[in-house]
């Protein structure tokens, strides 16, 4: 019996309908669909997919369990190495990590590893078969985690399982970091994030919200006054970048962080919200990453007739996941490629009326191998709009570097310098990982960094892991 070259598609909300609501786009697999997809796996002796995963999820093993219908065991298998599978199944770029290495991909579709991971985690949560992982006896060591995003939560989970006393400090009023303020509901339902966090809490992780490390207490205070034995800094990407063009501070110009925070964290998308957001009829998002897709799709759901993406290179160079670009296009987001904003135009009252753009063409490849966009002289044109969202990245937040004098910081990028192989920084018993070290990256890379740092913390504090 030959193996089906096509994967089982995951059913999705109709694009015309979902563009008007914030409910999740894909519905997930049924038990039968999951079993059928799982049975496509070849169970390779040397599974390349596992090497592609930053936390080395035991992929063929959990997929085998799904194929046999042992769904609860599949979820447990994933959780041996990945604390947040329901989240990773949704937001990991599987196509460039695990799925791209799948042998089946040579002739057809690779196994839908992400879909199956999501299925196992969702089913476990929905059926209430969640088992708390075994916890080792207390080692009597206190670890502070700065930031409750993917890096911090993963680090906290690893440490608490190994008997450490873990406290997570979160600056905002809700835990989850980018998972709650950044990624929209339609891509990652907040209920799932809450469940994952309450799971960590039931393991004994303490979460302190409204606590800004660097202000409420410095890293040194955490050691000297609060008697922590180690500190992991996973404070995230931080300050949004702007283009430094004319008109960028006009009314109706947002960073993607602000726009998404208003909508996701402050719930500006619900009816009668307490935090406002500009509901422009025409909204332009500048950028080509996942955050740009999230912003443009949020604008559409908030009622824009026309939600446009302006990106200076072509679609091939877009850093966003293919699936996100595909979803955005299906929903009717307009892509204005190979053009770059040169000025934001505002009316007399200071509110945005349009973006003046210039056309670009691709020149020689840059240091990252992406072809560099070059201006086509005299090709300026204007796109009318009532709101602009700038989604061109972030620079690191200065609060911790500025208040921790002996912590080495990259002069060029402002990121905390940490050895990516072990998470150790220049300061003893201080570890760092995630976007604060790498600059803006992915949820799973941050989780990988949190896990790596946890190993070092265990080794440094107890002399072994």
């Amino acid at each position: 019996m030959g193996i089906n070259a096509s994967r089982i598609p995951m059913k999705e909300q109709d694009p015309a309908v979902r563009g008007k609501n914030f409910e999740e786009v894909p519905y997930g697999y049924s038990d039968d669909e999951a079993k059928a997809e799982a049975s496509r796996c070849l169970k390779c002796k040397k599974p390349l997919c596992v090497d592609g995963c930053p936390v080395n999820v035991k992929i063929p093993e959990f997929i085998g369990l799904i194929a046999n219908g042992d769904f609860a065991a599949a979820a447990r298998k994933i959780k041996e190495t990945n604390a947040l599978p329901a989240i990773c199944g949704r937001v990991c770029p599987q196509e460039e990590q695990c799925e791209c290495r799948c042998i089946l991909g040579k002739k057809g579709d690779p196994v839908a590893i992400g879909n199956l991971e999501r299925f196992a985690a969702d089913r476990e949560r929905e059926k209430g078969t969640v088992d708390l992982p075994a916890k080792k006896s207390s080692v009597n060591k206190k670890v502070a985690i700065v930031g409750s995003g993917p890096a911090g939560l993963t680090c906290a989970g690893e440490l608490v399982k190994n008997g450490f006393d873990v406290t997570v400090f979160e600056a905002l009023h809700e835990a989850g970091g980018v998972l709650v303020y950044g990624i929209p509901e339609f891509r990652l339902p907040k209920e799932i994030v809450k469940k994952e966090i309450s799971g960590l809490e039931s393991l004994g992780v303490k979460i302190v919200k409204d606590f800004v490390v660097g202000r409420t207490a410095t890293v040194d205070d955490l050691f000297n006054e609060e008697k922590f034995d180690a500190v992991f800094v996973g404070s995230g990407a931080g300050l949004p970048s702007f283009m430094k063009i004319k008109g960028e501070n006009s009314i109706g110009v947002y960073s993607a962080n602000e726009y998404l925070t208003r909508s996701n964290l402050m719930k500006a998308y619900v009816s009668n919200p307490t935090t406002p957001i500009m509901k422009g009829k025409r909204v332009i998002t500048v950028g080509g990453g996942n955050v740009a897709m999230d912003s443009a799709r949020t604008a559409l759901r908030l009622g824009a007739n026309k939600s446009m993406i302006v990106y200076r290179r072509s679609e091939v160079e877009m850093p966003a996941r293919k699936a996100e670009i595909h979803h955005a296009k299906e929903e009717g987001i307009e892509f204005h490629l190979l053009c770059n904003p040169v000025e934001i135009i505002a009316g007399d009252n200071g509110a945005v009326t349009g973006v003046k753009c210039i056309r670009m063409e691709l020149g020689e490849p840059d240091e990252r191998g992406r072809r560099r966009p070059v201006v086509i002289k005299g090709s300026e044109f204007t796109l009318d709009c009532e709101a602009v969202i700038i989604a061109i990245g972030n620079s690191p937040n200065p609060l911790i570097p500025e208040t921790t004098p002996d912590l080495k910081v990259s002069e060029k990028h402002g990121t905390i310098v940490a050895d990516e192989s072990d998470g150790r920084t220049s300061k003893k018993f201080v570890y760092a990982g995630g976007d604060i070290v790498t600059g803006a990256a992915t949820v799973i890379l941050a989780m990988g960094a949190g896990k790596t740092a946890a190993k070092s913390i265990m080794a440094d504090l107890t002399g072994g892991d």
């Binding site: 919200k209 409204d210 202000r215 300050l239 949004p240 200071g350 609060l399």
Partner: protein
């Protein structure tokens, strides 16, 4: 973390002083810093400057004017209640040094955040002249406290019900006309008042710092909503400020951005008011 309200006091028709239990913030805070709070779990996050502290007793005081839905929600809490969230201290402390002769100018509710700065300037050995202005006598805040930490306190009211009739800028002009010289000035108040006053102090050659209060969400540098053009560059009031060299601030842009949501805010105020009335009926 939530925080319990220890004391609630009405200072004028629309201005309130709340004392909040916040030992960590009280211990850490320096003059010029602010907090972010949410009165209830469905509130906006609003920044408020810390007006007073007692590190030993572990409390901070905030003084606010009821302006919108969130401050209305705050007003409706009582001693013994808790606010849902309180985070801080945020922002950079005021640069305090012995400048020599220092001018501290506060407009309206701006006197509240100005008070800890006046105190710190006074305690550092500066010769402090404070000018406080408001619409009328009833709205002059913290007169006794400010007087106790100033070598001289001058008052202006728009209607002449107290002190000089006119604006703080009129009082300032009179000092300059009398030949007085100052080495530094700190100005806090409504943006329009700061724009008008800072133009004068800067023109008089006084190094002037203004403490800005743009719209803010997270208060930790993450969202960029509070950006202000200072010296031709975008700066974030929450992590780069809230104080900036007044000679470099783009006031018109700041004032325009502060009005971004005025229609929404008006409706929210009305809805909240209606909802309270219906609740009472």
């Amino acid at each position: 973390m939530g925080s319990q309200i220890l004391k609630k006091e009405q200072l004028s028709d629309s201005v309130w002083r709340f004392r909040l239990n916040a030992p960590r913030i009280a211990k850490k805070r320096k003059a010029g810093q602010f907090i972010i709070l949410r009165p209830a779990a469905d509130s906006e996050r609003i920044p408020l400057t810390i007006a007073n502290v007692d590190a030993k007793e572990g409390w901070i005081e905030i003084i606010f004017q009821v302006m919108g839905r969130t401050t209305m929600q705050m007003r409706d809490l009582n001693a013994g209640d808790s606010v849902a969230d309180l985070a801080g201290p945020l922002g950079n402390p005021t640069h305090i040094e012995n400048f020599g002769r220092v001018l501290c100018i506060g407009g309206g509710v701006g006197a509240a955040p100005l008070y800890p700065i006046i105190k710190a300037m006074f305690e550092t050995g500066n010769d402090v002249t404070s000018i406080i202005g408001a619409r009328n006598k009833e709205l002059i805040l913290l007169e006794d406290e400010i007087k106790a930490s100033s070598h001289r306190l001058l008052i202006a009211t728009d209607d002449g019900s107290y002190g000089t009739k006119g604006f703080v800028s009129d009082v300032f002009n009179a000092l300059i006309d009398a030949g007085e010289k100052f080495d530094a000035a700190v100005v806090i108040g409504p943006a329009m008042m700061m724009r008008a006053t800072c133009r004068l102090t800067v023109a008089a050659g006084i190094k002037t710092y203004a403490s800005l209060n743009p719209i803010m969400i997270d208060g930790t540098g993450m969202c960029g909503c509070c950006r202000v053009t200072v010296g031709g560059e975008s700066r974030f009031a929450c992590v780069d400020g809230p104080e900036f060299d007044a000679s470099l601030i783009e006031w018109d842009e700041l004032i325009a951005r502060m009005g971004s949501y005025k229609d929404f805010e008006k409706k929210a105020r009305e809805d909240y008011h209606t909802c309270k009335l219906e609740g009472a009926a």
